[in-house]
Amino acid sequence: MRIASFGIFILLVFGCGLTALAQDDPIDMVESEIVLPAPASKVIALNHKYDIGEILDVSWESSTSDPELVFGYIIYRSEGDNKFDSVGAVLSKINSFSDEELIPGKSYNYQIGTIGASGVALSEPSEPAIPDWELFNLEMWNIALIGFIICGAVIAYIFSAKAGRKLFIRKIGGLEALEEAVGRATEMGRPILFIPGIQDMDDVQTLAAITILGKVARVVADYDSKIMMPVSRSLVMTSARETIKEAYLSAGRPDAYSDDMAYYVTDEQFGYVAAVNGLMVREKPATCLYLGAFFAESLILSETGNSIGAIQIAGTARPGQLPFFVAACDYTLIGEELFAASAYLSGDPKQLGSLKGQDLGKVVAMVAIVLGTLAATLASAWDIEIMQKFLDNVMLGIFSNH
C-alpha cells in the first residue's frame, strides 16, 4: 500500500513537471511575439494648488498605440529612492491623476505604466515634485472681495447706528402682526403653535426661527398665554427649551415655564406632519407660526391651520415653498425677512444697522445684473467683441464660482 502511494506521488510529481515543461514551450513562443503598447510620455508631477500640501497632480501624454489596445494606466510613485510602487490606476481615456495624502515637503517621482494586452509598458520617470501648501486660496479672491464689501457695509452701518444715526427700515407686515397674533390667542384662551421647520440646528433657517422664538416666547410669557412647540430634531428641542426658559425668566415668570412646551416628535418628515396635524385638529391653536426650513409639508401644515381658522404667519428661505405659504397663510416672511426678523423685533439700533448694511449688497447685485444684461444684449445682438470680453473677463471673473 505504501509502495503504491509512493508510486502515485512520484507519478504526480513527474506528471506536473512534464505538464509544466510542455506549457513552457508555447509561452516562450508567445514571448518572442510580445509587442508592448507604446508607453505614456511627458510625465509631469506638479504641486496641487490651494491645499494643505498633501496632493500632487500627475499628468502625462497618452500612449500613441491604438486606443483599443490600451486598457488603462497604472500610476507608480517613488519617494526618491527609485523604488516605484503602484498608487492608483485610471482608464485609458484619462491622462491625469491626483495623488493624495502625501507628506508635505517630501520629494516624489512618478512613472506611468501603460496597460496593454501583452503587458505593461513603463514611461520615463517624472522630474521630482514636492507637495506644498499655500496660506490663501487666491482662486477665491472674488468671494473674499464681495464678502469684504458686504461684511464691511454691515459693520459700518452697525457703527453708524451705534453713533446715533437714524435709519429707515421698512415695515414688515408679518412681524408687525406677531404681537397681535399672540394677543388674539390669549383672548381666545387657545394656544400658540410654533413650528421651527424640519431641519437641525446646523441650518441657518432653524437658527433664525429660534431667534424669533425668543421674542415670541417673551410675549407669550408676558400675556400668560400657552405655547406648543413640537419639533422634529432633538437638538432643536434642547435649544428651544433653553430659549423659552430664558424668555420666561426674563419676563419674571419662571414658575409658568414647563419643559413640555417644546417636545420631540420624530425625525421622520411625514410622521412629524401627521403628529402636528393631529395636534392642530385636537387643540385648535389660535395662532400658528411656521418659521424655518420647510419642504413638502409646508402646504399640508398651513392648509390644516387654515381649516381650523388659525391666524397664520410663515417664513422660509426656500423659494419652492414660498408660494404654498403665500396661498395658505395670512402673512409670509419672504427669504431675507426671516433672517431680519430677530433684529427687526428687537428694535435695537445696532441690529437694525446690520439690516441696512444688506442694502449695499443689493445695490452691488442690482448694478451687476444691469451691467451684465446690457453687455450680454450688446454682445449677442450687435456682435460687439469688447462687450463679450467684458462679460467673460470682468463679470464672470468676479461673479462666477471658481
Binding site: 490651494y50 491645499d51 494643505i52 496660506l135 490663501f136 468671494i143 473674499a144 464678502g147 454691515v154 459693520i155 452697525i158 437641525d200 440646528m201 446646523d202 441657518v204 437658527l207 429660534i210 431667534t211 425668543g214 430634531r233 432633538s234 437638538l235 428641542m237 434642547t238 435649544s239 430659549t243 430664558e246 426674563s250 413640555d260 417636545y263 420631540y264 421622520e268 418628515q269 410622521g271 385636537r282 413638502a296 402646504l299 399640508i300 392648509e303 428661505a317 423659494p319 404654498f324 396661498a327 395658505a328 427669504g335 431675507e336 425677512e337 426671516l338 433672517f339 431680519a340 430677530s342 433684529a343 428687537s346 435695537d348 445696532k350 441690529q351 448694511g357 444688506q358 449688497g361 443689493k362
Partner: protein, 224 residues
C-alpha cells in the same frame, strides 16, 4: 459665564468656518467642527427619544384626553426600538447589517412607515387643489396675473396646449402655449426665485455677523 461661553463658542466657530473657505490650512478645522455637530446631535437623540417616552407615558399614566394616541406611540416606539436594537428577524443575525433585506426593522420600514408616509404625502394633492382655489381667485390685479400664468403653465404642460395653439406660424412660436409656459418658468419665475435667493444670501451674511459679533443673543433666551 453662562452667556460668555456660548457667545465665545459661537464667535470662534463662526469665524473659523468663514476663514476656512479662504485659508486652506484651516479647512480641516471647518470639517472637524461639522463632525462635532454630528457627535452632539447623536447624543441629543437620546434626549429626544427619552423625552418622547416620558411625555407619552405621563399622558397615559394620568389618563389625559386622547391618551389612546399615546399608547399607539409608545407601542410603536418600543417595538421598533427593540426590533432594531436586538436585530430581531435579521437573517444575518445580531452581527448583520441593520438594513439587511428581510430583517424586522426593514419589514417595519417597508410595510408600515413607507405606506404611511406615502399616504400623508398623497394628501398634498387635495391641499394643492384647495390652496390653488383660494390663491387663483381673480380678486385683484396680482391674483389675476397669477391665475393667467397658472392657466398657461397648466395648459402648456399638457398636449391640449399644443393642440390649441400649434397652428401659430413658426416665426411667432413664442405665443404657442407650451413655449409660453417654458418662458414663464425659465424667465419670469426663475428671475423671481433668484432675486429671493440673493436676498436670502445677504440676509444670512447679516444674521451670521450679528451672531458672530454677539449682537444677537436671542438664541440664548434673551438679548441682554
Amino acid at each position: 459665564m453662562k452667556r460668555t461661553v456660548p457667545l465665545l463658542i459661537t464667535g470662534i466657530v463662526g469665524t473659523v468656518l468663514i476663514v476656512s473657505v479662504l485659508i486652506p490650512p484651516a479647512q480641516s478645522l471647518g470639517e472637524d467642527f461639522s463632525l462635532f455637530f454630528d457627535i452632539i446631535a447623536v447624543f441629543a437623540f437620546f434626549l429626544g427619544g427619552g423625552n418622547l417616552f416620558r411625555i407619552h407615558l405621563k399622558k397615559v399614566f394620568h389618563r389625559k384626553e386622547d391618551y389612546g394616541f399615546s399608547i399607539v406611540t409608545l407601542v410603536g416606539f418600543l417595538v421598533t426600538l427593540t426590533i432594531g436594537l436586538f436585530k430581531i428577524g435579521n437573517p444575518e443575525g445580531i452581527s448583520g447589517s441593520i438594513t439587511a433585506a428581510g430583517s424586522g426593522l426593514q419589514t417595519i420600514f417597508v410595510s408600515i412607515i413607507t405606506p404611511l408616509s406615502s399616504t400623508m404625502y398623497a394628501l398634498l394633492a387635495f391641499y394643492v387643489a384647495s390652496a390653488s382655489y383660494r390663491a387663483f381667485r381673480a380678486k385683484n390685479r396680482e391674483a389675476t396675473i397669477l391665475l393667467v400664468s397658472a392657466f398657461v403653465i397648466l395648459l402648456g404642460r399638457t398636449p391640449l396646449g399644443m393642440m390649441l395653439t400649434g397652428w401659430i406660424p413658426e416665426q411667432f412660436s413664442i405665443f404657442q402655449i407650451p413655449n409660453l409656459a417654458v418662458w414663464i418658468m425659465n424667465s419670469a419665475n426663475l428671475a423671481g426665485q433668484r432675486s429671493i435667493l440673493i436676498g436670502v444670501g445677504l440676509g444670512v451674511v447679516a444674521m451670521s455677523l450679528r451672531l458672530i459679533l454677539g449682537m444677537d443673543r436671542t438664541y440664548l433666551g434673551s438679548d441682554k
